[in-house]
């Protein structure tokens, strides 16, 4: 099975739309949504729930007030400002490092597992689909992303492809999303910010030694920046495997929870098919 992760650097470039479209065009695949903060793919894939679990992805300090002598050493030692002056743990700040546990002279503090989200696995007409939702304000997005992928592969049944819809940015969620990938596809838009963000996220792929490809979405919005992106990619040896037209009808389709494929937007669909064919060719040519 080949794992392809779709990332963007900048948010809102169309990753989910493309992944959902590919889920209709490709054969033999499983799918994951690794944007656990603000997952969207499930809105388009509409499946039947086959697994739902609480995820305990963090530990927080818990202070036993009956033992605590209010010496305040824990407050001083905490690097994250997670213990208040009145010796209360502020959960939104606690990273579960245990420094306070070690410091407390009366052993009043312990670390307890915290629920940080929920994971879901759905059976859809387009393949098994793994996703999750991070609890509001919780930490550990990267860990939850890892869990989404572990769940996905737990349900794998000899499919050829795994499509992963990644998170925006370049931090821990994205790093966790791209690990183990056979390739990443950076979906960018031809805007100055889009190009700048694309360059940074390509740097992350390079840092971790993962093959990368670029797809320019809404390319005809600004042909100049599109050219600049193509030039950059050529200079750095990154194949541009797809260019998709700016099509306002896609927004209307998404509002009806339809991908361009279901909405019959033939130009865009043909462009996505071309992207898919090119990707398949590139991956069968390359050896990991």
């Amino acid at each position: 099975m080949k794992q392809i992760v779709f990332i963007s650097g900048k948010g809102g470039t169309g990753k989910s739309t493309i992944v959902a479209s590919l889920s209709l065009l490709a054969q033999s695949k499983i799918i994951a949504d690794c944007d656990v903060d603000a997952p969207n793919l499930h809105l388009l894939l509409k499946g039947k729930r086959i697994q739902e679990e609480d995820y305990f992805g963090a530990e927080h300090a818990v202070i036993d007030s009956t033992v605590c002598i209010s010496c305040g050493l824990c407050t001083k030692v905490c690097r994250f400002g997670a213990i208040s002056k009145v010796i209360e743990v502020l959960p939104l700040k606690c990273e579960g490092c245990g420094a306070c546990v070690l410091t407390c002279p009366v052993n009043a503090i312990s670390l307890m597992k915290q629920k940080t989200g929920e994971t879901y696995v759905d059976s859809t007409t387009r393949g098994t689909f793994s996703h999750a939702l991070l609890d509001i304000g919780a930490e550990g997005s990267g860990k939850l992303v890892t869990e989404v992928k572990e769940n996905l592969f737990g349900f794998a049944d000899g499919e050829n492809w795994a499509f992963v819809d990644g998170a925006p940015g370049i931090g821990c969620s994205v790093i966790a999303s791209i690990t183990g990938a056979d390739a990443v596809v950076v979906v960018c838009e031809p805007t100055q910010s889009g190009k700048s963000d694309m360059e940074r996220v390509l740097g992350v792929a390079r840092h971790f030694g993962i093959s990368a490809f670029v797809c320019i979405n809404k390319y005809d919005l600004n042909l100049r920046v599109t050219s600049a992106i193509e030039f950059f990619c050529e200079k750095t040896g990154i194949p541009v495997i797809g260019k998709i037209s700016y099509e306002p009808k896609i927004v209307k389709a998404l509002q009806a929870l339809q991908t361009p494929v279901e909405a019959g937007l033939t130009t865009v669909v043909r462009e996505i098919e071309r992207l898919w064919n090119r990707l398949k060719t590139e991956l069968t040519m390359r050896k990991q």
Binding site: D37, S141, P190
Partner: protein
């Protein structure tokens, strides 16, 4: 007044709104807290004069004092230390800088050294500031913390957040006076708006909504806001020209006095407390 601009969903227009607001207000401070992918500079075009590395502390072992007991590797909750055959191996990229290992070492053999995970850049007067995470680094929080140490209290401060609703966003919006939530009229936009609303409510912060790429035919966001008593501060219409200008790093406020006025009005409304 400290105003944070967040969204939940990426690409809805946080930078559009925050940069426009900072530009329209003229005497304001803009802080780009999307340290993974900062974009504000493309639109506000500051002249960067100050650079400051963001350093974090990571452990180092004094081999003379170390007895190879391995307690440090068991204490570290983040797998950043391994001890094999009496040798201590430290993996600084995944270190969370908590110093638990320093505290736990019975021989006082661990001390801390600094390493850089990113940089903060500012213009001459500190009216524009941005943080940038080094590529390959997973953790953003220390940069946000450092950025927030330079917030002005005499002029409005606009903080541009990263997308999502995770700990990075929490750190950015904490302590702010007001939150502007930017959304778009799509099912994705609404879904993620609800997440962002839950977050600001959980943190007890007053907030209002800006609907970007608004369309006459789709009133789902307006309906949701009406049902939940949420204030709509502004609607920016979906127009190809606006999208094209954005692609060239131009904002409506750059070319239209009308838009500048709208943003100033929005600020006045927020400041006057006539919202939420």
């Amino acid at each position: 007044m400290k105003i944070a601009v967040l969204s939940g969903k990426g690409g809805t227009g946080k930078t559009t709104v925050s940069a426009s607001l900072a530009y329209a207000l003229q005497s304001s401070q803009y802080i780009d807290c999307d340290v993974e992918e900062p974009n504000g500079a493309l639109f506000l075009k500051p002249l960067i004069k100050h650079f400051a590395p963001v350093n974090v502390r990571v452990p180092k072992v004094d081999e003379e004092k170390c007895d190879g007991c391995g307690i440090c590797s068991r204490i570290c909750r983040f797998n950043a230390i391994a001890v094999v055959k009496g040798k201590v191996l430290i993996f600084p990229e995944i270190c969370h800088h908590c110093a638990a290992c320093v505290i736990g070492c019975q021989q006082n053999a661990i001390f801390e050294v600094e390493r850089s995970i990113g940089v903060i850049e500012a213009d001459a007067k500190g009216r524009f500031m941005q943080g940038r995470l080094n590529i390959g680094e997973p953790i953003t929080l220390p940069i946000i913390k450092q950025l927030k140490q330079s917030l002005r209290s005499d002029i409005p401060v606009i903080l541009d957040c990263s997308p999502g609703a995770s700990c990075t966003v929490v750190q950015t919006i904490e302590g702010c006076d007001y939150c502007i939530l930017v959304t778009e009229p799509t099912p994705f936009g609404l879904h993620d708006l609800k997440i962002a609303v839950s977050l600001v409510r959980k943190m007890g912060l007053p907030f209002g909504i800006v609907i970007n790429k608004a369309m006459q035919e789709d009133q789902t966001i307006q309906t949701y806001c009406g049902q939940h008593n949420i204030d709509i501060l502004m609607e920016i219409p979906y127009k190809r020209e606006i999208a094209e200008s954005y692609s060239k790093a131009m904002l409506p406020v750059h070319t239209s006095e009308d838009w500048k006025y709208k943003f100033v009005q929005m600020y006045d409304r927020i400041k006057g407390g006539r919202v939420s």
